[in-house]
Symmetry: C2
Subunit: 377 residues, 2 copies
């Protein structure tokens, strides 16, 4: 399904959780949605058709990486990011701000924006709200994120406030620079660290500016699940009910289940793909380290009943062998499995919300994880 | 098509070149055949279904690598190499001898066999003709290679003769140890370096022993194409006409075209897959280095008209980007393209032989390569 404009409709709720659909000219996005990360115009170790086969409706692209290499201008000249990376469905791009702060060197932040040196070749660059909007437009992003500062954790109230207020001024500049682009969405990002009053103030300012969706920012930055859930117990409620709510950079399966229950509609994380390149498999019984010698002679699949190519075609013994041998197929198969597992989890959450049975689903999820992988033997 | 027994039939000839079919219980192999190399139970950066999609009828597995990790006994306990690596069509395994000499340390060769230390963990191992047959049986190989010494190049007549005679004694021991295994084939390997009389003597000894197929060994070891073709001008003719002839470890596309014209039916080489991991693409216009900055803005596919996923889905600019960025998808796409190109070349050769037009095909092949890739711009 495609729609001429960007839209969002909630089809079912269960407690605070929502099951819905984001409509875009490039196709629908079923929510709650997990977005695999395609940092440098590729979901690492996957072909786009395989990513789609796992059930992904949308990918995330990274403005910081792409502006440095191959550059947004080059991608635009080649027809945009979708064509460049051979993915014709929706793409959300981040604003570049978070990754500048975590990857670039010689960073200098001012009211105007941030200057930095590339981690690839040391070249000098600048991102401002206006430049971030321009880059994301050049990439052809369907969902554009406002340029903000991801407030570090921990931050005292004064630091958090100054950071939040800067991000809100940048949110207004992002909105102004984005302009009117039918079929494309601009999302604002709530900050305010762990301070409810600041979260409320940030949400209020964003609502006044007006966005097509709203992200909960400044979480998944080292505060831990308990603290994150404390913020998620109230922060999403401050955002408009009729727009998608996006929790950036989350997370582990248990993070996702907890976030959805608290009203989050969209998430992204490198975890399933990164884990796939380090021999870690995610299953209903929790995380499995396939480098472990206990899998050496195990004829069983990584996850019984899983329909991904890793589980239908290969034993744990094979996965162990190719991971130990540093064979690329190890990364390919485990990434595929992990993304498949994540998308299956999202489908389970959507079905449970629609059936009004999220509590049962969540209880079963935790019970399965508690059983652990070793009990399978 | 499958057959209860191993067989070979020539359907067409064109000069010395033959187009035929090897029948096995695991499916037919169209000849001339190129066998992708699946060293450690994987064709690097490819899923088996993708290898099959390129047109490969058979893979090669490496006894040396597999005996060390995960071990032949472990693979046997897990149901054999086909099941282990999820490839249900024929597999040819080498004898281990060549790779012991090129990879292992502290090698010691005696009449009995060769002892060595693993390049992985330094553990001590021995391969004899008898052990090589046992390992290849444990792996479940469809086409088993006799254990031999690949005579180094250059070798003076005396050295070459001693090496060849040892290999012929080992060929007899391989034959004795292989036994009677319906549906499985044992190939003998001709040695004799660049000496026609020794090649003839080796062929005569192998024919006396009797094999299901015959390899031309001791080539593609640094002698160069001209010298290799000099040997191929007579060596294959010394082998039985009614059995497949296998040129081991060859080669570049021009090597393949020249070898087929000289009566070779089977070949294998790591070149297309290895090239795919170093940014080298093989096309009808020759080799293309996609790391070169001239591809940076090029919207065209690597090879116009190619139906592989790399060429139908991506620009040269994208391939350049992901290769420069060390993204796994670069290896995946280029390996796929290269194997696709190789299999297309084999199909072209088979069709040309069947049409009695191999000379035209060969002339067109060389004319295309001579045009070069830069002329495409």
């Amino acid at each position: 399904m495609t729609s001429a404009t960007f839209g969002f409709a909630v089809q079912a709720t269960c407690g605070k959780a929502r099951a819905g659909t984001i409509t875009t000219p490039r196709g629908d996005i079923r929510t709650p949605a997990f977005m695999p990360v395609g940092t440098a115009a590729t979901v690492k170790a996957m072909l786009p058709g395989s990513v789609r086969a796992t059930g992904a409706d949308i990918l995330l692209g990274n403005t910081y990486h792409l502006m440095l290499r191959p550059t947004a201008e080059r991608i635009a000249a080649l027809g945009g990011l979708h064509k460049f990376m051979n993915w014709d469905r929706p793409i959300l791009t981040d604003s570049g701000g978070f990754q500048v702060m975590s990857l670039a060197s010689l960073r200098k932040m001012t009211e105007k924006g941030v200057t930095f040196r590339s981690h690839i070749d040391g070249s000098r660059h600048e991102i401002t709200p206006e430049r971030s909007m321009e880059i994301q437009r050049l990439l052809g992003s369907d969902i554009v994120m406002a340029f903000d500062e991801c407030t570090p954790y921990p931050a005292d109230e004064g630091t958090a406030r100054a950071s939040m207020e800067l991000s809100m001024r940048w949110a207004q500049r992002s909105r102004d620079a984005f302009g009117d682009r039918p079929g494309h969405a601009l999302f604002g990002i709530q900050q305010g660290s762990v301070y409810a009053d600041q979260r409320a103030e940030s949400a209020s300012k964003l609502r006044t500016i007006g966005f097509d969706g709203y992200a909960v920012g400044g979480l998944a930055v080292g505060e831990g699940q308990e603290k994150m859930f404390e913020v998620l117990d109230y922060a999403p409620d401050m955002l408009p009910e009729d727009k998608p709510r996006y929790l950036m950079g989350v997370g582990k399966p248990s993070d996702i289940v907890g976030a959805v229950a608290r009203g989050i509609d969209m998430m992204d994380c490198v975890l399933p793909s990164r884990s796939g390149r380090t021999g870690q498999g995610w299953t209903a019984r929790g995380q499995v380290n396939l480098r472990n010698a206990r899998h050496r002679d195990d004829p069983r699949p990584l996850e019984e009943g899983c329909t991904c190519p890793a589980c239908t075609g290969y034993s744990r013994a094979y996965l162990h062998h190719v991971i130990k041998s540093d064979e690329i197929i190890g990364s390919m198969l485990l990434t595929w499995h992990n993304l498949h597992y994540y998308q299956s989890l999202m489908q389970g959450l959507r079905d449970a919300i629609s059936a009004g049975a999220l509590a049962d689903f969540t209880a079963a999820f935790h019970a399965n994880v508690a059983l652990g992988d070793v009990d399978l033997r």
